[in-house]
Symmetry: C2
Subunit: 108 residues, 2 copies
């Protein structure tokens, strides 16, 4: 018996809200580029400002958006704060999109 398919989430208001927030976090070019940089391992904000040529408060804003969505976590070390990707939430998104795709392939 099929477990609860992630696509079922689309019938539950709280899950729809959460999904919308996750996708929103990924819907901005600056944030996607941050994600790209974090694939090289955890980074402090200063690394990212250099690599992305973006102002510090701007990066802080986007990192907060990613963190609030659960896509990244932060870790303080002395003066520096390191950000890293959260694989669990990425897996969750992948599962969701995958199950929607399967549903779509079945019905369309």
């Amino acid at each position: 018996m099929a477990a609860l398919l992630p696509a079922r989430m689309l019938e539950r208001p709280a899950d729809v809200t959460r999904l919308a927030r996750l996708f929103h976090a990924l819907s901005d070019e600056t944030r996607l580029r941050i994600v790209g940089k974090l694939l090289g391992g955890e980074q402090c904000v200063c690394n990212l400002t250099d690599a992305l040529a973006a102002g510090q408060s701007r990066l802080s804003f986007h990192l907060k958006t990613l963190k609030d969505a659960g896509l990244v976590s932060d870790r303080r070390e002395g003066r520096w704060v390191h950000y890293a990707l959260n694989p669990d939430v990425l897996q969750e998104i992948k599962n969701f999109v995958g199950s929607v795709r399967e549903g779509a392939a079945r019905c369309c």
Copy 2:
């Protein structure tokens, strides 16, 4: 577009733009609920207005957003226009998220 490693897309401006647009299309609750309804097979707008209790012009707006992003396709049949999910683009998103997740699991 199909890169060897989808995560590589985050290094190419055109791909970042495209991904941002795809995720944006999925970042709205109304649109996610539309996607949920389309899992039941292709639907005309009138079905969706009933099912989602949303105004017609509002649905039209969101369907256009989904269509512009390539997530759905439309098919005219007499007076009706039927919308359906596009599995290919969903697969593409799944691949991308999956490869980011793998990268994250490897590095974090």
